[in-house]
Every structure is written in structure tokens, then in C-alpha cells.
């Protein structure tokens, strides 16, 4: 049997808190505590929890921006945190990330075509940059000609499309989306969620989808991981958890996600 696209085994990450006393070791807090999950190609795992529950720390470890204190991230069976820097850089084209604030992650002084092609330059594919960034723009429902424009010429939803174009330009197998629709208006959010579903089915992407909004999670995910204080308190198929949440915390999230009529 071949290895899953992504497997996290017992991921744990601790951070040092500010020192309380000069002579004692600073106290630690465990941001992520023994989390395990797998994502297959074409599947979506949702991670839900409040701010500070460890969601984004998981994203950073999966993206190998940050190493776990214990546990492994296996991408196609290969431990990302055991790779040498050069090898990791070559692997990065296969897993990409979309952030919450597209305005903060696009260089305002560069044409968006340049920003979209940035991941290609990092792996030495700049020759193809212009053609592939135009192709990516089309895939996210924008015009190839938009490559010549600057970020301020776009609306918030369009900027998030650009951020997604940049993430798929290397033709990755895994996409990590950290609160990628949270800053968007409801109708724009629906468009971006549909786009992610389209791209996923078209490209067979595995998706790690992080959100604090259970309604959004319910509409896009297959599997769900509910986090509280760094621990997985509930994990399984999304339909099952949303229909019969076992934990009071999950129930309260469901209530807060706003079903009003």
C-alpha cells in the first residue's frame, strides 16, 4: 500500500512563555499536543478551534516553517523535518499555503503576475513563470491580463483568488488554507469556497483547511479535527461530528456558528 499524501504523527509543539523569575527556567505552554491525522489526495481535513487552540501551529509544522518538538510530518511517506534544506526547498513545490489576509501577503509594489510566479523562481522554473502565472489566473477565474495589474486594483475576494493562484502555480499536491475565507464577505466567501472545491476536484488536491467557523468547515471538509488548548478533542468524518457532536465544546461551536431560523 502506498503512503498517504500527508500523515501527521503525534505532532507536539511547545513554546517558552515569558520568564517569571531570572533564576528559574521560563514556563512552557504546549501549543499542540500529540496530534495525528492523515490526508489523502482529493480529501479535505478541516481543523476547527478558537484562537490559541493550536490550529495555525499545525499549519506551520505541516508546511515545515517550524519543527515539532515531538512527532513527524510525513509527506508521501517522507519525513519533512528530516530533510536537508536543499531537498526541503525542492519538495516545497508540492505543498503550498494560502493565508488569511491576501493584502498582507501580496507585495503592493509588484504586479500580481510577478507575485504569482514567485514560488516558481524559488525552484528555478522562472522561464515558465509568465505563462504559468497566466494559466493559474485563469484557473482561479481571473483574466490572464490581470497579471499586469497591482494588488490595490483588486477587491478582497479577487486578491484571495490571486493568493490561491500563487499557491497552485507550482501544481502542488497539498494545499494548506489557514483561515483563507475568514476575512471575506459572505457572498465572496461562498465564491472562494466553491473555487477551492472546483480546484480540488480538478487537480486532485489534498486540502488542510483551518477555520474557526464550523459552518464553513461543514460545507467543504470530509474529515474534521476539533481542537481545544492544543489537543484534539474530537476527530472523524465531518457529517458524523456535526450531526452528533460528542463534546460540549463542539456543541457550543456549532451553536455559535449561527443557525438562526
Amino acid at each position: 500500500m502506498s503512503a498517504p499524501l500527508l500523515e501527521a504523527r503525534g505532532l507536539t509543539r511547545r513554546y517558552a512563555l515569558p520568564r517569571q523569575s531570572l533564576l528559574r527556567k521560563p514556563p512552557q505552554m504546549t501549543a499542540v499536543d500529540g496530534i495525528s491525522f492523515t490526508i489523502e489526495a482529493g480529501q479535505t481535513l478541516g481543523v476547527v478551534g478558537e484562537s490559541g487552540s493550536g490550529k495555525s501551529t499545525i499549519a506551520r509544522m505541516v508546511m515545515a516553517f517550524e519543527a515539532p518538538d515531538a512527532g513527524q510530518v510525513l509527506f508521501r511517506g517522507q519525513d519533512l523535518h528530516g530533510l536537508k534544506a536543499g531537498e526541503l526547498r525542492r519538495q516545497r513545490q508540492h505543498f503550498q499555503m494560502v493565508f488569511q489576509d491576501p493584502f498582507g501577503s501580496l507585495d503592493p509594489r509588484r504586479r500580481v503576475g510577478w507575485s504569482i510566479a514567485e514560488p516558481l523562481r524559488a525552484i528555478g522554473l522562472e522561464a515558465d513563470g509568465a505563462r504559468r502565472s497566466m494559466e493559474a489566473l485563469e484557473q482561479v477565474g481571473l483574466h490572464p491580463g490581470d497579471a499586469e495589474k497591482y494588488p490595490h486594483e483588486f477587491s478582497g475576494g479577487q486578491r484571495q483568488r490571486i493568493a490561491i493562484a500563487r499557491a497552485i502555480v507550482t501544481r502542488p499536491a497539498l494545499l494548506v488554507a489557514d483561515e483563507a475565507v475568514s476575512a471575506l464577505d459572505v457572498s465572496v466567501q461562498a465564491q472562494i469556497l466553491n473555487l477551492l472545491m472546483d480546484l480540488q476536484e480538478e487537480l486532485g488536491l489534498g486540502l488542510l483547511f483551518i477555520s474557526h467557523d464550523l459552518a464553513v468547515i461543514g460545507s467543504i471538509c470530509d474529515q474534521l479535527l476539533v481542537m481545544q488548548h492544543g489537543k484534539a478533542i474530537e476527530q472523524g468524518p465531518v457529517g458524523q461530528i456535526l450531526r452528533t457532536p460528542a463534546q460540549p465544546y463542539t456543541q457550543s461551536l456549532l451553536k455559535a456558528s449561527g443557525v438562526f431560523v
Binding site: 459572505v186 457572498s187 465572496v188 469556497l193 472545491m197 459552518a215 468547515i217 461543514g218 460545507s219
Partner: protein
């Protein structure tokens, strides 16, 4: 108390708020919903006399029977805080990071009400208790960075209540908060409005929060008030195509479960296109060009509000045509 009549705010001939009319009385709880560019924040700024100077205004605003449309900044300063207060989305940005939160909350009492330092301290303490800040005496002496997001928002609510306003405007008060905290802040605002017989204008793109907090609702799009009425009625049976689109686009955590199981996942209903720029909005119905039930006259002619019930109306050419037929 507050009476806005045919109020328009324009920038270079383009209306960001067009012909808005609104009455707010003691104890009213009004929700204003709409997406970015709908004009809902411009409406809030109009009610507190903080419209940007570059804007051209027309129409009437009277507060307690007094015409404020041409009031000077000095008049407004006297009125603000005492009659109307506002809280914004980002509590960290609204608090001075270098001052203890207690001092910030006391400031308007010292300036507007002429309270002594001691009386202001006592009132700030009482307000912290009222808005549900635990260990209020200690919190008064803390700095904003020492508080959580929800507590900061409570501090801002206390600040807004400092001079016992008759109207509290909450502009996206829960957007930056976690879902559970947002729920508690929403409930707090409702409780305060009821206990103090204060009017509340709750501006949000979060329909669930508005449904929970308000009795009446105004739906805005492109600077127009497109639909209004009792909150539950409007949300249960939206009459305007934009309101229907907005409600339909909300992801429902459970709606998608039925068709799950290997097959193609259901897509969310969307409103096609994007909100046009201010200068590119159609002259007639602002929703023309995106509307699923558009007829030729929509883009050219401004639809009038059609009465749908004692307190209900919507501005759509189709409803107008139905009524006259």
C-alpha cells in the same frame, strides 16, 4: 430620538449612502447588514456626525428634535458621548496602548460630565462590573495588551457607556472575536440596551449575530437601503433579490451532509460578480448587473420602496410592478 430623512453622502458626485431614511427611538434594537461597500459604516458615521470632510451631504438629520444636518463640530462634540456613542470592530486599535484602560474609560466622564477623579473612578468600576469584566478593580489598572480580545471589547463597551448615551452604535463589534466570545458580546449588548432603555444599532455582516441581537433590520447594498422590516420576518422570508442571495450564500453546517459520500460536493449558491466600485455602480437599482431576476429598466431607474407590511418594505422594481398590477 434620531430621525434621518433622505440622507445622502457623496464623494465626487458618487453616492456612498443614497437617500437613507431611518427613525430610531428609545429602546429600539436595529440591525444593519450588508457587505463591504454597502454603505453601512457610512450610515453609522452619519449618525454620529463623523462623515469624512471630503463628502457632500444632503438630507436631514435631527436628534431629539434638533436639526443636526448643519451642526458644527463643536455642537457634535457636545452631543457625542452623551447622546450617541460608537464601538468599532478592532478593540486593540481603539484603545491607547500606553494608558491604563481605567483612565481611558474615565476620560469622557471627566471632560463631558465634569465628574471628580473619585466619582469617575467609582463610575468606571461600576461600568466594568456592568459589562461583566471579572476582577474589575484590578482590570482598571491594566493596559490593553494585558487583556484578551473579548475583555478589550468589553472595555470599549464600558467606554461607550461612560456618559450614558441614548444610542449605542456597534459597528462590527464581534467580527474580530472567536465565535463563542462573539456570542457573549452580542448578548451583553442586548442586555445593556434593555436594562438601560438605550437604543442599539448593530451593524454587522454576520447575519446570525444580527438575528440574535435585533428586533428590526435594514439590509443595505451599494449605499441603498434595499429591504427593511422585523428581523425574524425578513430573515425567514426575504423579499429583495439581494437579501435572498445573501441568505443563500451562507454556508450551513448541516445542509451539505445529505449528498456526501464520495460524490461531487454540493456548491454553495452565490451572487455572481462582485460589488462594483462606487463610481461604477448602476444609476438605477444598485443591484442591477448581479441580480438574477433583473428586467431592462432596473439599471436605469431607481426602485422605490414597496410596502410589504406595517413595518416592512423592499426597494425592487419587480415588487413595485406587482403592487401596481
Amino acid at each position: 430620538m434620531f430621525d434621518l430623512q433622505d440622507f445622502t453622502v457623496s464623494f465626487g458626485g458618487h453616492a456612498a449612502l443614497r437617500g437613507a431614511s431611518l427613525r430610531i427611538d428609545r429602546g429600539d434594537r436595529l440591525g444593519v447588514v450588508g457587505e463591504s461597500g454597502s454603505g453601512k459604516s457610512m450610515l453609522a458615521l452619519s449618525l454620529i456626525g463623523m462623515v469624512p470632510e471630503a463628502a457632500q451631504l444632503s438630507g436631514q438629520l435631527s436628534i431629539d428634535g434638533r436639526d443636526m444636518s448643519r451642526a458644527s463640530e463643536r455642537d457634535w462634540q457636545r452631543l457625542r458621548a452623551r447622546r450617541v456613542a460608537i464601538i468599532f470592530q478592532e478593540p486593540m486599535a481603539a484603545l491607547n496602548p500606553l494608558r491604563r484602560v481605567g483612565e481611558t474609560v474615565m476620560e469622557p466622564m471627566l471632560i463631558h460630565e465634569g465628574l471628580s477623579q473619585r466619582a469617575a473612578e467609582a463610575k468606571a468600576l461600576a461600568l466594568f462590573e456592568e459589562v461583566g469584566i471579572p476582577d474589575p478593580a484590578a482590570r482598571l489598572r491594566q493596559f490593553p495588551h494585558q487583556l484578551s480580545g473579548g475583555q478589550r471589547q468589553r472595555v470599549l463597551i464600558a467606554l461607550a457607556l461612560a456618559c450614558d448615551p441614548g444610542l449605542l452604535i456597534a459597528d462590527e463589534p464581534t467580527t474580530a472575536l472567536d465565535a463563542n466570545v462573539a456570542l457573549r458580546i452580542t448578548d451583553l449588548l442586548v442586555r445593556l440596551a434593555e436594562e438601560r432603555e438605550m437604543a442599539l444599532v448593530f451593524i454587522s455582516h454576520d447575519l446570525a449575530a444580527v438575528a440574535r441581537a435585533t428586533r428590526d433590520i435594514v439590509v443595505m447594498y451599494g449605499g441603498d437601503m434595499v429591504e427593511r422590516g422585523p428581523t425574524q420576518e425578513v430573515l425567514a422570508g426575504p423579499a429583495h433579490p439581494y437579501t435572498r442571495g445573501l441568505l443563500g450564500a451562507r454556508p450551513d453546517p448541516l445542509a451539505n451532509m445529505a449528498g456526501r459520500g464520495g460524490g461531487r460536493r454540493q456548491r454553495l449558491p452565490t451572487i455572481p460578480g462582485t460589488v462594483p466600485l462606487l463610481r461604477e455602480l448602476p444609476q438605477g437599482c444598485r443591484f442591477a448587473g448581479r441580480c438574477p431576476v433583473e428586467v431592462p429598466q432596473c439599471a436605469a431607474r431607481v426602485p422605490l420602496a414597496t410596502r410589504l407590511g406595517p413595518d416592512r418594505s423592499a426597494a425592487c422594481h419587480l415588487l413595485q410592478a406587482e403592487e401596481s398590477a
